[in-house]
């Protein structure tokens, strides 16, 4: 295996002048399943780097709350094996943002450990830079006291209690620490929580591509194949130059169209024209989307406006615990009066908890949700709405501990299973799919922060650690690379 020399990447690199800085984006998230044939196509097209993210807040607060990955270890290892081998063979860097879903330190270290295992198995000795962006609570409170933390709607000003409540707080990295790591000789960069775009924009920005196209191209490519006509093919190739960017799928039978590329700015963005990033705002109001050929779209006119450097904060806190049960009901009398049935059952369950557990139940909640009726919206159906043929009735007990939530479920079990639609009938039974009927769902987590912190520079809240061939494992604060 040949070790790459990242210093070969420069403005003078012949490949840059020949069609832009090419970033191979193998899929929307590490662990989602990269395709070896697509990776090969990207290498053959002359990719200068492989970059992708491994997480976001999209799947909810539990991943940041617990520090655990959404994707399985085996799935992440599979993708890393393919990408690390390809990276080594091509002599190009691999950048992974938001490691381990949440990008907190524990999730980054989990990813690093897998990378080291893969390196050992494949006989690779990559030079690895690890970027940590989990935040120390004292540092953050001091920033807040100094007036450097700003709330984003709909939340209000940050207080110390909220900071203390969070189990993990991360700041979203911009591209600068990645660039610093690559310039310091890193062949693999594993980032903590990073904006989806920054990890993809880093290499184009480092090699002198224009900022507007670099950020816009990164936004379009961040979900991989989502910007193509067939998102089942996960990989895309982004090529950024001084005037704009080209985007094309890696699968030969897939294609990008101006419509699919433009529409990606809608996805998961509250504003389709502006994207606030660390150190600036991307403005695509005047972007022009043209088909370059049958499968490639070229975008020009994207603008980048510099702003004071800020990093967005994300924090999640653990709350109460939940135990759930589900029962299926087809009973025609119940279907004909579902709202009344559920209201009476709700009252009977609470009464049952009161009589059997009393004060010991603490501050608890029971939620009944009829799937097939109105569980999704929680809104009352209009009078006269046709009765469903069947419903799946979900029972959710929420209490201070898992043991209490389960105890509540257990005392409610017979009523939930047998509750009669009328008092004067013999005991009915409904359809439990599982034994035991109750399922311990674990802790409830909640997002607590929607704030940005102003920093002196892109490195102030970032720690860089070097691992691997030719370097001593060490951690350096303030981005002062070894």
């Amino acid at each position: 295996m040949t070790a790459s020399n990242p210093k070969e990447f420069s403005m003078n690199d012949g490949r840059f002048s020949d069609g832009g800085v090419k970033v191979l984006v193998p899929c929307g998230a590490l662990g989602a399943g990269v395709r070896p044939d697509e990776v090969e196509a990207g290498l053959a097209a002359g990719a200068h780097a492989i970059a992708l993210d491994a997480g976001s807040t999209d799947s909810g607060p539990a991943y940041l709350g617990t520090g655990k990955s959404k994707y399985s270890r085996a799935a992440v290892k599979r993708d890393l094996s393919i990408l690390m081998e390809a990276r080594d063979r091509a002599g190009i860097p691999l950048l992974v943002g938001s490691c381990g879903t949440s990008g907190c330190d524990e999730a980054v270290d989990w990813t690093l450990e897998i990378v080291q295992e893969v390196a050992g198995e494949l006989g690779l000795r990559p030079r690895i830079a690890v970027l940590y962006s989990e935040q120390d609570k004292a540092t953050l409170k001091a920033k807040n006291t100094a007036g450097l933390v700003r709330a984003l709607p709909p939340l209000g000003p940050l207080d110390d209690t909220t900071v203390e409540a969070c189990s993990h707080i991360v700041a979203l990295l911009g591209p600068e620490p990645y660039i610093s790591a690559l310039q310091g000789g890193a062949e693999i960069v594993l980032g903590g929580r990073t904006t989806d775009t920054a990890v993809l924009a880093a290499v184009p920005l480092m090699l002198g591509a224009a900022a507007g196209p670099a950020w816009h191209g990164a936004k379009v490519a961040e979900c991989g194949g989502q910007c193509t006509v067939n998102p089942m093919n996960p990989g895309v190739l982004l090529s950024v130059d001084a005037e704009g960017f080209d985007i094309a799928p890696l699968s030969p039978d897939n294609r990008c169209e101006p419509r699919t590329v433009a529409a990606h700015m809608l996805y998961e963005n509250s504003d389709p024209f502006h994207l606030v990033e660390p150190g600036g705002v991307l403005d695509v109001t005047r972007s022009d989307y043209q088909a370059l050929d049958a499968r490639t779209v070229r975008v020009t006119g994207s603008r980048w406006e510099r702003k004071p450097y800020t990093m967005k904060l994300e924090g999640a806190a653990g709350g109460p615990f939940q135990t759930i049960m589900i029962v299926g009901i087809e009973d025609r009398a119940v279907m004909a009066d579902l709202d009344g049935f559920m209201a009476r059952m709700d009252e009977a369950l609470r009464d049952r908890v009161r009589r059997t557990m009393g004060e010991a139940a603490g501050d608890y909640d029971i939620s009944l949700r009829a799937y097939g009726w109105n569980a999704v919206s929680g809104q009352a159906r209009p009078p006269g709405a046709p009765a469903p043929l069947e419903v799946g009735l979900l029972f959710v007990a929420t209490a201070a501990t898992q043991a209490l939530a389960t105890q509540i479920a257990k005392v409610c079990n017979p009523y939930f299973f047998h509750f009669p639609v009328r008092r004067d009938i013999e005991l009915p039974s409904y359809a439990f799919p599982f034994s035991p009927a109750e399922i311990e769902r674990g802790q409830v987590f909640e997002f607590k922060l929607n704030h940005v912190v102003q920093t002196a520079d892109p490195f102030e809240l970032v720690r860089i650690r070097w691992v691997g061939a030719g370097v001593q494992d060490k951690e350096v604060r303030d981005g002062q690379a070894a």
Partner: protein, 102 residues
């Protein structure tokens, strides 16, 4: 009376970060888009009423090149709390489908 779902080829919703929901209304062509993009039923006030949120925080965008009206509004509770019914806000658009546009 024309309802939203009658003049759109697709309507969808999605979380936009943990604190916001965004709905994309893909009109069936430039004609209906131009005719209805300013409809009172799609105003910030009307949307705020449907989802019981502060109208001052509702954002509306007209995306001409895609014939899309985009509406973003804050969640009443952050994504994933104890009372969550729609983690990714993926079904919230359904409550807009019968919005009268004329």
């Amino acid at each position: 009376m024309v309802k939203l779902h009658e003049v759109c080829r697709q309507v969808r919703s999605k979380n936009a970060g943990p604190f916001w929901v965004t709905a994309d209304l893909f009109f069936d062509g430039p004609e209906n888009y131009a005719r209805y993009k300013g409809a009172a039923g799609l105003s910030a006030d009307a949307v705020a009423k449907v989802f019981s949120v502060d109208p001052a925080l509702v954002k509306r965008f007209a995306v001409d090149n895609l014939s899309v009206v985009k509406i973003s509004y804050p969640r009443k509770t952050p994504q994933g709390g104890a009372v969550e019914r729609d983690m990714h806000s993926g079904q919230q658009y359904v409550r807009l489908l019968d919005t009268p546009l004329s």
